[in-house]
């Protein structure tokens, strides 16, 4: 215990340093707004604002981005409740009961419930994170390239198995991300690869930010421009201190379900690639199943707001655990954070604890502080948010477009990347319309170089023997789990058909 408390205290103190604290509060506020705005979520905010962090040291940068991630989990509920439009995919489940509550005039109850549940979820998950991180990192030190490769396969398999999307399309998405990562000069042999049409710009490869900002910035805006036709109906929110106290008293009604939601959120978030969205949906489903009054769900049950909100906050912390300790992102947003860490020169994984302890503990410490900061800002600014949400999309969209263009230019300062970003955005928009999942591609382009390196190192070490992955116990385990995960939808589909036929 002592080996955790000391660095943790140091980390918390570090996050209270002026610059870090300022960026933390700024990040929480930005995250709250980004999460609240329909059409933008944590992943978009983190992708678009990542270039801003080139200005500051890595510890400050990750504190800022993690605060955005956090804030967005709080903020998503605001739009879900007041507009009935999820502020982010992570807040979809909050609409189910949040919207009816607002329609009944109880929007303030829903908003306070969401904030408190988010806080509880955040706190529990941060404590779990602190406890799990060092031992997991120690375990991961035993990994060789074979384990790394199979672990990444496992991450991709999770997308295939649990992603819920069409399997061939998911496989395509993963593969194209991996292929895009190979463009440029091969690290091992130095040869140029996939220099399409001999355009010079391809020699420095495709920066993952170009894909991420293209898809989550430009693509997302195009998508939302198409969706938000017609008027958005904002429900009136009655505020005031008295109602705040009254709503806080309602905590005891939903406290147990919030604990459950937090645990579900944390463990689902830990799974590679899954993230806060499935965590929130799962938590809602389980809350409904275990409730004494399941029929009231969907009509304005506060537990229906508390459960997903605590889960999505817990999941955001949980998804940072594999990112920091194993180098495998736990969610699309952490995939972007991981990419950012690589840009800053930090290699995520077990060595990070040993080589850059202040970075890791600074991040962990900041999560505690961010949790407090965000819940206060959230509760204080609810009326402001509701006002802001009525910004017309024709004002927001061009702003975001410009941010994307600048953000796409800043990393490499070539217009080539900006054109690529636009291309990815438009193509990504069309593919999304056809139900191709885009998150696997972003994950793949971040993990691509690492995956290929591990693969080639493993093959080299075994002199071409592909069975090496099965001979080592750890990598074999990962591989088997990966295959099971990938096969799960096919198997469950077949079982369902059989049940339907015999019925």
């Amino acid at each position: 215990m002592e080996t955790i408390l000391e660095p943790l205290a140091a980390g918390i103190l570090q996050s209270l340093e002026p610059l870090n604290l300022a960026m933390l509060v700024l990040g929480c506020t930005v995250g709250l707004f980004v999460g609240a705005l329909p059409g933008l979520g944590s992943v978009n905010g983190v992708a678009i604002l990542l270039p801003v962090t080139f200005l500051v040291p890595p510890t400050t940068a990750i504190i800022f981005l993690a605060a955005i991630y956090y804030g967005a989990m709080y903020g998503g509920a605001v739009s879900s409740i007041t507009l009935g439009i999820p502020g982010a995919s992570t807040a979809v489940a909050t609409v189910f009961d949040g919207r009816p509550l607002a329609q009944k005039g109880k929007a303030d109850l829903a908003l306070v419930t969401a904030a408190v549940a988010s806080f509880i979820g955040g706190t529990i998950s941060v404590v779990l994170f602190t406890l799990f991180a060092p031992p997991l990192a120690a375990f991961a030190l035993k990994f060789g390239p074979e384990e790394e490769f199979c672990l990444m396969l496992l991450a991709f398999a999770t997308f295939i198995g649990l992603g819920g999307d069409d399997i061939p399309k998911t496989i395509f998405s993963i593969c194209i991300g991996l292929v895009l990562a190979t463009i440029g000069l091969d690290i091992i042999s130095g040869k140029p690869r996939l220099i399409f049409f001999d355009i010079d710009g391809f020699y420095h490869g495709i920066n993952f930010l170009v894909l991420a900002i293209g898809i989550y910035g430009i693509g997302e805006m195009l998508w939302t421009l198409e969706e938000t036709k017609g008027s958005v109906q904002v429900h009136k929110v009655t505020g005031g201190f008295k109602s705040l106290l009254r709503n806080l008293k309602a905590v005891k009604d939903y406290f147990p379900i919030t604990i459950l939601g937090s645990l579900i959120g944390y463990f689902v978030g830990m799974l590679p690639a899954a993230g806060a969205t499935p965590a929130a949906l799962m938590s809602y489903g389980l809350a409904k199943t275990f409730s004494k009054d399941p029929d009231s769900f969907g009509k304005g049950n506060v537990s229906g707001v508390a459960a997903p909100e605590s889960a999505n906050n817990a999941a955001s912390t949980g998804s940072m655990l594999p990112m920091i300790t194993l180098g495998i992102p736990g969610s699309p947003t952490t995939a972007i954070l991981l990419g950012g860490m690589i840009i800053w020169g930090l290699r995520p994984g077990p060595l990070l604890f040993a080589e850059h302890p202040d970075f890791v503990w600074g991040l962990i410490g900041s999560l505690y502080v961010a949790n407090f900061a965000t819940v206060i800002i959230n509760l204080a600014f609810i009326p402001v948010f509701v006002r802001v949400l009525t910004i017309r999309f024709t004002i927001l969209a061009p702003m975001i477009f410009l941010l994307c263009v600048v953000g796409g230019y800043a990393p490499t300062q070539t217009m080539h990347d900006v054109w690529l970003m636009l291309l990815f955005g438009v193509v990504g928009y069309f593919l999304r319309k056809l139900n191709y999942p885009v998150a696997p591609a972003v994950l793949a382009i971040v993990l691509g170089p690492l995956a290929e390196q591990s693969f080639r190192q493993s093959m080299l070490g075994s002199q071409g023997d592909a069975f090496i992955f099965l001979q080592r116990p750890l990598s074999a385990t990962f591989l088997v789990v990966a295959v099971l995960l990938a096969a799960y939808p096919i198997v469950s589909g077949m079982l369902k058909k059989r049940a339907a036929q015999s019925a």
Partner: protein
């Protein structure tokens, strides 16, 4: 099969989701083949003795997998197993084409503008177009935002980050500002 033309097209405007799904899969399959071919350009796609997998291994075999997944999507289309392959809804409504298409064109012009007249002037024109023409907002709002955005950006990027942004032929106009910030 249904009575009408199963491509579901009554004209070039009416692309159905179904049609788009098929065209998309075919386009991506062609892309995969293109990548496969490009992967063999100067690179080995097999095992090099004592050296390990060739540089072309990863891109080639992965793009082959891409091709197979596109073929699987086409097979699914024929069998009608995915919702997209069964849907006869319009792929994009007239309004969508309008707003998305114009946004993309505006972005294209923005990027071309960055190459020629520089980012700050292009941003201004882009915002004026988007806010006033597409969005129909008031002149006050348009003018304020169109002037504020490039200004904020200039001081943030060139002043704080010291990352010069492309200015094209408008470069000389910025000389006095450079003296101010440096």
């Amino acid at each position: 099969m249904l009575g009408r033309n199963d491509f579901g097209m009554k004209g070039t405007q009416d692309m159905t989701v179904r049609m788009a799904e098929l065209l998309g899969a075919i386009a991506l399959a062609l892309l995969s083949i293109g990548i496969m071919v490009k992967s063999t350009d100067g690179l080995a796609i097999g095992w090099i003795p004592n050296k390990g997998p060739g540089s072309g291994v990863w891109p080639f075999w992965l793009s082959l997998l891409m091709l197979l997944s596109c073929l699987a999507t086409i097979v699914n289309w024929v069998r009608g197993s995915t919702p997209e392959s069964r849907s006869h809804e319009m792929f994009m409504t007239r309004e969508s084409v309008h707003i998305v298409g114009i946004s993309v064109l505006a972005l294209l012009f923005l990027l071309v503008g960055i190459h020629t007249i520089g980012i700050y002037l292009s941003m201004l024109l882009f915002l004026v177009f988007y806010l006033k023409v597409l969005g129909g907002h008031s002149w006050t709002l348009t003018v304020i935002l169109s002037l504020a955005a490039p200004t904020v950006l200039f001081f943030f990027f060139e002043g704080a980050l010291i990352i010069p942004l492309p200015k094209g032929i408008s470069e000389p106009l910025f000389e006095p500002l450079y003296d101010f910030i440096y």
